[in-house]
């Protein structure tokens, strides 16, 4: 089985501060991490590799330092990695990004599954996975909290707000992972020595390698425009706290809900 895992290097948003003047993220000094949902996607690929054998390729697009994230993936157990890095990719929105990723997947040739995280914690769009599936014209299952493979059939529980649905499709398919899918493993000591050594198995491809025109990627090929970014105002505090015994509080709550015509 061949699996491609698409990952993104993101700022650790637990450490990020927003500049109150400009509304943009202050990225200086913020550590970069492997996007958490992508880590779950990689773990699923590695579980399939452990169970039945698979070749796991990790793919990302980003600046040269995104290679660090690919090394982490290799140290966890991925077989090889591809970094799409070229000045021409700079400023790509999800549309342009999925275009470049689709070209890279075609260049990699043949796969059974593409796994990726539901969304990245920096942009939170959840668009790149679905767009990639559309561009490759394959089935997709998003928000997977479980995944089973039986020959060429893949079956997932797809988490919804009020429960889950079971969705089945034929491979090749693209699945987006959520944190409920699994518990990612740690890098191994052996993996760290190999991946962070001098002969790490990482290919770097630019626009020319993908056989696509530079006008199809980057800022100019991106229809998204960001008008303004801002921190949402904090939610106001509740009007009042109930107190007294459980019966008294329940009574007061019911009276308030009646007054507001909720019940």
């Amino acid at each position: 089985m061949r699996i491609i895992v698409c990952v993104k290097q993101v700022p650790d948003t637990n450490e990020v501060k927003i500049d109150p003047e400009t509304g943009t993220m202050i990225r200086a000094g913020v550590p970069s991490i492997l996007n958490p949902d992508d880590k779950n996607a990689l773990e699923q690929a590695l579980l399939l590799k452990d169970e039945a054998g698979a070749h796991v390729t990790v793919l990302t697009m980003g600046p040269p330092q995104a290679a660090e994230t690919l090394k982490e993936c290799l140290a966890m157990g991925a077989d090889d990695a591809v970094l799409l890095s070229d000045r021409a990719f700079a400023g790509s929105d999800t549309w342009a990004t999925s275009n470049a990723l689709a070209a890279a997947v075609r260049k990699l040739g043949g796969f059974d599954l593409i796994l990726t995280g539901r969304q990245a914690i920096d942009g939170d769009t959840a668009q790149v996975g679905p767009q990639l599936a559309e561009r490759l014209d394959i089935a997709q299952i998003t928000y997977a909290q479980s995944l089973e493979i039986d020959a060429d059939t893949v079956r997932c529980q797809r988490l919804l707000e009020d429960g889950y649905e079971i969705v089945e499709t034929k491979t090749p398919a693209l699945i987006t992972a959520i944190k409920e899918l699994n518990r990612p493993r740690y890098m191994s000591i052996r993996g760290i020595y190999d991946a962070f050594g001098e002969n790490a198995n990482i290919k770097v491809w630019g626009v020319a390698d993908l056989g696509i025109d530079a006008s199809q990627v980057g800022l100019k090929a991106s229809p998204t425009s960001v008008n303004r970014s801002f921190s949402p105002p904090p939610k106001p505090k509740g009007k009042k706290m109930l107190d007294g015994t459980v019966d008294e509080m329940a009574g007061a709550l019911a009276a308030e809900l009646k007054r507001l015509h909720v019940i």
């Binding site: 140290a75 890098m187 191994s188 000591i189 052996r190 760290i192 020595y193």
Partner: protein
Amino acid sequence: MHLQLTKQQEIIRQMTADFSAREVRPIAAEIDNTETFPMQTVEKLFKIGVMGMNLPREYGGAGADEIAYAIAVEELSRACAATGGIVAAHNSLCCWPIWKYGTEEQKNKYLPKLTSATIGAFGLTEPNAGTDASAQQTVARRQGDSYVLNGSKVFITNAGVAGIFVIFAMTDKSLGTKGISAFIVEKGMPGFSLGKKEEKMGIRASSTCELIFRDCAIPRGNLLGKEGEGFKIAMSALDGGRVGIGAQALGIAQGAFDEAVAYTKQRVQFGKPISYFQNTRFKLADMETNIQAARWLVYGAAFKRQTGKPHSKEAAMAKLFASETAMEVTTRALQLHGGYGYIRDYPMERMMRDAKITEIYEGTSEVQRMVISADILK
């Protein structure tokens, strides 16, 4: 001179610190309280390759360097000294001597087990042979194709959970230390049993028991090294062991220091956080200075060991200074916590209890001073 970690060493610190925070710290107080060996944690440590990490790839190891190993033990011990000590005893005292002195057959038989699932232990100390390790009373008598062991070992780390033991015994009493030999003994060999499980002051989650040999016949092929090489094997294994215990002590000190910094910043007395007061600040400054000094001694000894040059003195100095630093830092950090440091809701009293063993095992502080002074005056 590059006083900088390699990229791999840095990532190993990140990974083991992350492992320690998520897998070790949450259970540290409980396993201390209940004297429970952290078997699930150790299984995970096998999985990520910390157990036997220095062994070559062909035996299932990672071929890790000595500084990376010290870092791994340090980061585990920062959260739980017992867990760090389990790893140190396994790697330094069981894996290493079998790799260094074993035949190819012994290495192929035992090392893949020690990197995948089987915990190792080391039996040198006896009721009457502590600091004077040469006074071995356990004897090994040649009998046909076997050696027959009789005697007992005490205070053996990992004893209750280990499957493979490196054991020392007298093969020829008339030769003194040159009459001591080393053997690889497996759990379950007839005549080999566990004695009393010790109830300890600290590192209570690690397994420490007596080993008893009653006409325990082991195959001749399990002699490690040559007859009479046992004392040399024990002493060279302890050089590595002392780097490991130095790293454990360093981790304990760093863990206690982290707690003290956090606590003194939030504890308010006389209207101010106590970190505002000069008494606190100067204590923290001294603690940090000693911890850094200990760290360079430990990494320096690890580096020297990695180069293959003699390093008995460096290992002894690292272990001596780091263990005394651990005792001092935990004592001061507890004092900064006041009454809260003395109760079990906070980790300080555990860390202080754990620190004490590092001044005792794998050679007491007095033994380290003997080793260091003997090297100076040789």
